[in-house]
Each structure stands twice: as C-alpha cells, then as structure tokens.
Symmetry: C2
Subunit: 477 residues, 2 copies
C-alpha cells in the first residue's frame, strides 16, 4: 500500500465517486475465500467500459497492480490483492439476457451463477456448471478459474459453456473473443486462454453462455459400499456400461461419519459409517426411465445397499448430507486443507490405496468427497492450527498428495485454480518448458505485469501467512 | 526453395532416410485441398519424438519454415508451405487407443478421423465431430483448424472433445497441455490456444479425446419449404421448442436444383426445386421416440411437405443428396468459392434476405447449404475462371459476404480456418487490438516465426495465385 498514492489520486480525479479509499471498503476487498488478506490502495467500481479502460491505462502508465473482483469467493487467494494496488470490483455488472430460441445467454461478469441458473431455467434452458459457491460466486470468477461442480462428468465445466467473451486487454484496449455462435474458427483462440487464467491476462466484462435444454426429469439413488475401494470399482463398472449420470457424488467413510455425528442421523439406515455414492439421472422422462433400469441392476450387483428417493423432497434430503459434510469435518480439526485434485478414472482404485497410505503416514484425518463422474475429489487434510506437529504433517501430506496425483496422470486442481495457495505445486504439474511458455504468453499480453501480479507462477508460502479469523457467508462451518 | 540448402543437408545428416528431397515427394507436399502449390525444400517423416525435436531445433537455428502436415486436405491453404522450408509429415503417426471404461481415446495426430469413429464406435462410444473430409482428414489437422461438421449444433466441435494435447513448442521442447481428465484448472490453458491455431504455435503429436455414449437410435426426416426464408423461420421455431436434432442440414433451392439436374431424380417427389431441411434425431430409443412426436407436429405446422425415412437404407438415400450437392454445383461454373461462414440463429432470416440481395447484385449463382443447428453455412459463389467479369464479381461478392456476416454477429469461418484463402477477411472479424494480441502471442511462443509462416495474419492475394489443375481423392466433383 501507499506505493501508488500519486496514481490513486490521479485515478480519483479521473473517475470520481467510482474510486474508494475508505478503510472498511479496502479491508473488505483485501481478501477472498482463502482469508489471505492484503490491503489494496483503492477499490474501483466502474460504471462504464470507458471507466475500465481508463483504470487499465492509468495502471499501465504507473505500474499499479489491478486485481479484478467479483464475489471474492475464490478459495485459493486468486482474488486477494497480494501486491496492493487497485481492486476492480465488477460485482455490480450483473445483467443477464436470455436468447430463448437459440439457447444462449448474455451475462455480465458480476452476475451470480445461481441467478443465471434461475434466469435460464425460467425459459426451459439449463446452464450445467454448478460450483458449491453458486449462490455467491459470479460468472466472471467462474470463468477466471474455470469452475466446475457436480455436473462436470456428464455435461462439462464452465469452459464448455462459454461461446464468447468481451472485455479488456491489460493495455486498456477493448476486445471480443468469439461470437454468439457454436462454431468459430477465425484466428487464435484467446477466449479459452482467458478462461482459467485467473484474471492475469485480461478483464472479462461479459460472456455469451451456451445453454442446453432443461432436463424434464431427475431421479436420485443413494448407494452404500463396504469401503472406498469397493465404491470406486463399482463406479468404474457403471461408467463402463456407457451410463452417464448427471451427478455422481462420493463421500468416504470419514465424511459420512462426520455428517452422522453432526446431524445425529444415519445417512443410510443400517449402513452407518459406510461410504456412499449419490447418483442422479437427468434427461427426458423416457431417457431417465431407460437408464434407471440399468442403474438399478448395477446397484443390485455392486452395492451393499441402495435406496431411491421417492420424490424430489426425499432427494433433497439426500443432497443435504452431501452439502453439509464439508462443514461437519471441523470436528476433526480446526483447520482444513481442501484440495480439489483430479484423478483419471482408470486410476480410481490406485488412488484409494494411495490415500489410505497417506492417512497412515500423516496420522491425520483426510475425509474425501467429490465428483466421481470426472474424478475431481475434494481431499480435506484436517489438522489443529496450534499443534505444530500436526501442522507440519499436514504441510508434508499436501505435498505428497499433489505429487501422487500428478504421478497418477491427474491434475492438482480441477476447479479452484492456482491463485496463491497452490503455487508450491504448479511445477509438479507443469514442466519448465510449459511454465516458460505460459510466462511468455503473460509477458506478451501484459508486458508491465499489472493484472493480478504475484499469482500462479510466484511461489507463495501459504504456511507463513496468517489467515483472517472471520466468518464468510459461504463458510461451510 | 534452395534458401535452406545447407540446413537441409544438415537435417539429412541428422535424420537420414526420414528426410526426402525427391521432387515427386516435394510436389505432393507442396499443396493442400486449396491446390495452392509451393515447393518445400524437404519432407520429413519423423519416427520418434526425438526426430521432431531435432527438426525444430535445427529449423530454429537456421530460421527454416516448418509446416506440419497430416492428410493435406485443408481447403484454405493452411497446409501449403507458402514460404518453402520443411514439411513435417505426421501422416504415419496414426495409433488409436480407446479407454472403453472412461470414454476417452488416445489418438496420434496422423490418425484419420473416420478411423477414430470406427475404433470408438466398435466399443459403444461416439466421437461426434464429422467434417465432410472425415474419410481423409487427420485428427491433427482437425484440431489445427477446429473442424466441425454436421453434429456441431447439438454436440459441439473438435475443441469440445479434446481433453489433452501432447507435442512440441516451436523451440523443440516437448510439452503436454491438460490431462486425461474432464476437469483441469492448473495454469494457463495453452491446449485451447493450440486448437485452431493452424499449426502456427506448436506441433501436435497426440490428443486425448473425450467420447460420449454412442446413440442407440437415429431417425431421419426430410422436409421441404416454399423458400429459404420459410425454411429458416421454421428451423428457428423448432429450436425454440428446445428440440436439439443431432443433425439439421439445409439445402437451398439452387443446391437442390443442381442435385436434381445431376441425378435426374427429384429430391422430394412433388416438390421439385424446393429448399429442404434434413433432420436427424439421435439418442436412446425412447429419447428419439419422445422427440419424434414433437418434430412431426412441427413439420405438420411448418413444412410444405415432409417424409420420414422408413429405415437406415432410406435415410442413407436422403443423406446421399446432401453429400452430392457440393459436386453438382459445378454445372453453374467451373470455379467455386466455398465460404464456411457462421450466422447467429437470431439473424437467420436477415441472412436469407442479405444473401438474396447478394445473388442479385453479383449476378452469380450462390448455392448455399450447411448446418442449421449451429448456423454454419457453406456459401458457394460459382463463376467461370476464364470469364474476367465473373471472376471480378465473385471477388467482390466474397468481400461483401464476409462483411455482411460479421455485421450480423457471425464468423468468417466456422470450421475451415483462415490459412491463406481467408487472410483478406481476418481484419473484418478482429479489431487491430485483437490482431495485435494474437500476434504478440505468436511472437512469444515462436520468436523466430518458423511454424507455418505466411498464414493467417499476412495478406495473401489468393486471386493472383494459380491453383493446380489436379484431381484430389476428396474433390466433390
């Protein structure tokens, strides 16, 4: 802070009331869901494209860092202005327009994902990406980290539904990538380069989203298994039958036990503490009816027990367990490393064995749940912050986890991105040549390095930084 | 040619029999489907990754252009070595491995798309992209131009089915982008930057493709309309009902008339010379049965006449018309400008009016057919090469077409790419800031400009270059 006093004064003269330096506002913009806090010099709430262009032009001239912000619900620190400078707050840019014939939506970056769902579903369309943060997080943020969610296995992730982007280069120049069409093969594809680049290559102001027809029918089945290995094997067997459930969520024994301890209820009567897989089919009524036959036969052959939801209310009760399990884990430790790794389906069983070893070697509880349709599992390493021995074992365990995942052909992040928290592991995923290429692209598009500096490539020792002790609306606790 | 004699000699010493300078081989690699021919200095057929790395390292050292080649079926000249140098022929890299449980395929760049279809369909999986060139074109080439085809509207294009790429940076360094997983949010996404970059940013050696379950049922309906405007309006009404046909192909009056004149048969008995829309539903038997009811009601309400195929053999006869119409057009002129433009669905009707005006102002036949599921239409401007007045009107018409398409919010290319042939129009699609950003990325990744130079950004006056008079296996004539 304060390095950029003169530039900030100039910005205020230019943009007037859009620029705030009130301490409360700066503090609120100083952290994201990671609770890593760094005060910016100003918060800018632009009202027009010209405002954004002016911010970037000035920032470039004076080398002021600019961190674009939606809801600030990122879990990795990608929204924390680690180098100070200006926070460009787009949370008021929330217009949503649905083209009900073509099945597309024009959405401003600050629109909340849950609002997009509502707007398009009201017209019979469906936007599948559904991160757990959907009631808070914005489309801009979802695009910046290529967010996923429960529907990823069958339908795909944010990237798969973005047809076009509008926004600004770090230089302040307005650009459009792609068109409101499902085909586009004209020039290099900078649209997808922006998607997942965590606000480091451009400022996204608007997206055209591709929609699919809203599934008319859904059907939910809860299945229990003897252990994690049995669950993983069974799911592989289901997919091998060419059945694609819309959702296929897994909770391991520890996650189930936490949920049961917290709620005082058994997730699956008679199968207390067993790992479960929650399946949901979606489609036309007859499509769902067809697949239901296959899934029930599969459950009969593979599960220890299974139970279908009689109606949407009962299905909702089942989903409640999945949503609550994340918060329930804090019974096992006051701190959690939530890693959103991905494992290829062919290595699900190997990963179950690997994870068991990691639990033993770290002597820490590692409840794991997540999306078995795409192998994106949330591995939660639980520890007590004040217990130095536990903290060191947790630090070691996360490194072992990441190396193991990459060795199994997977990814260190499936939907959260790198931000600050995963910078120690980026080089496990990417070779020096790959990193060099990425950095060359960054330098080419943002020669002064003003957009979201300090993220992704710069090692950030997350262990050495205190996290705010503050409750956020989307905390699972 | 001959500028790179010393470098080529060195390459021969390094790679031995993999390097050819025989004239016949050089000639065969001098052109692609555009028939724009430029002799390279050598053709390299690498056998190993080390070979490819050596080629690029040497090329970088001596600034030798390298044009990667699969089948050479590109229609834009993107495969023609316009600056000479070395052609890197990957057509023998054709291994295909299917992961039948996960629904993925590992495919080497030289594998023919039709062979990929066969390999995955044998295991109950489906790879939807199906360019008309599928019996010839390679996966590497399809990725390089982000090929589409008839299934684009419902299922998406090549990009939507590529999970990971392996290959080389122009510097000769080996890289991997993405993993064999459906989620990946770790680092900048250079995978999608490579896709559609026409071999200018890297050499693709292998791809992991995402597959979907093979639709068990298909149903085909032929519909006829009074005129093009009526057909476009009707299709929009169908999509507004949330019906997504797997295929929705359109043939305008001129296309139908050409096909009828050539075959001596009426496409739709009693509706000679009327524009037609060919629809195909695909999915589970019950899903298709459900949608069939909606489509038949729609046809009853909107079409002049309609006729369903009683079986696959009859469906095949209907598709035959669609496939043959392109060749039949040469009755209208010995030369054709086949532009694969895209129009957003909301502007289909405006485009019909625009095209009629263009036919009148150019006084040329412009038969148009293509994919109404995604607005990707093949607009064929027919003229006689030796008739200078026609040729000039054709040149003017294509410029008017491209400007009109961009004005309607569409794209100058939906599946062919820019190559040489569309360089005059790139700046209609992209602003100076957009072009500058693309060129900055090119310079960052390929500082010596060795990969496929002279394409995309450099104006190529395609009119001034003779085309080979040679029959290619995939010519429609």
């Amino acid at each position: 802070m304060s390095n950029f006093r003169a530039a900030t004064a100039q910005l205020k003269r230019r943009l007037g009331v859009c620029v705030t330096t009130d301490h409360d506002v700066l503090f609120a913009a100083s952290f994201d869901g990671s609770k890593l806090s760094f005060l910016p010099d100003a918060v800018v709430r632009p009202r027009t494209n010209a405002h954004i262009s002016a911010v970037l032009t000035l920032a470039n001239k004076h080398r002021v860092p600019v961190t674009t912000r939606g809801a600030g619900s990122s879990l990795t620190g990608s929204g924390s202005p680690v180098k100070g400078g200006w926070v460009l707050d787009l949370s008021k840019w929330k217009k949503i327009t649905v083209d009900a014939d073509a099945g597309m939506a024009q959405v401003q970056a600050g629109a909340v994902v849950g609002d997009v769902h509502k707007a398009v579903e009201a017209k019979g369309w469906f936007y599948p990406p559904d991160p757990a943060s959907k009631q808070y997080s914005t489309i801009g943020g979802n695009i910046a980290c290529n967010a996923g969610g429960m529907h990823g296995g069958k339908y795909g992730v944010t990237r798969d539904f973005v047809l076009a982007l509008k926004g600004f280069l770090p230089t302040g120049e307005y650009v459009e990538w792609g068109a409101s069409t499902k085909k586009f093969s004209a020039g290099f594809n900078l649209r997808d380069l922006w998607i997942g680049s965590e606000g480091m290559l451009g400022v996204i102001t608007e997206a055209t989203l591709k929609l699919i027809p809203l599934p008319a029918a859904r059907w939910t089945l809860l299945t229990a298994f003897a252990d994690e290995l049995a669950a993983f094997k069974a799911v592989r067997a289901l997919f091998a039958q060419r059945v694609q459930p819309a959702i296929c969520e897994f909770l391991d024994r520890t996650s189930v036990q936490c949920a049961e301890a917290k709620s005082g209820k058994t997730v699956f009567a008679g199968q207390a503490g067993r790992p479960v897989v929650l399946l949901e089919l979606a489609g036309t009524p007859s499509e769902v009816a067809d697949q239901k036959v296959l899934v029930l036969a599969w459950a009969q052959a593979n599960a220890l027990a299974f139970r279908e939801a009689r109606d949407r209310a009962e299905a909702e009760q089942l989903w409640e367990v999945r949503r609550k399990c994340s918060g329930a884990m804090f019974a096992l430790g006051d701190s959690k490393l939530n890693e959103d790794i991905v494992v290829p389906m062919r290595n699900y069983e190997k990963f179950a064995v690997f994870l068991d070893k990691l639990r033993k070697s770290s002597r820490l509880p590692i409840p794991t749940f997540g999306h078995l349709g795409d192998g994106n599992l949330h591995v939660n390493i639980m520890y007590h912050r004040e217990n130095r021995a536990e903290y060191l074992r947790a630090e070691k365990a996360v490194g072992t986890l990441m190396a193991g995942v990459v060795k199994l052909g997977g990814a260190i992040s499936g939907e959260h991105g790198i931000g600050l928290a995963k910078t120690p592991f980026l080089r496990l995923q990417h070779s020096p040549a790959q990193i060099k290429a990425m950095q060359a692209v960054k330098l080419a598009l943002d020669p002064n390095g003003i957009l979201n500096p300090g993220k992704m490539f710069t090692l950030f020792k997350v262990w050495e930084h205190p996290r705010l002790k503050i409750a956020l609306p989307w905390d699972h606790k």
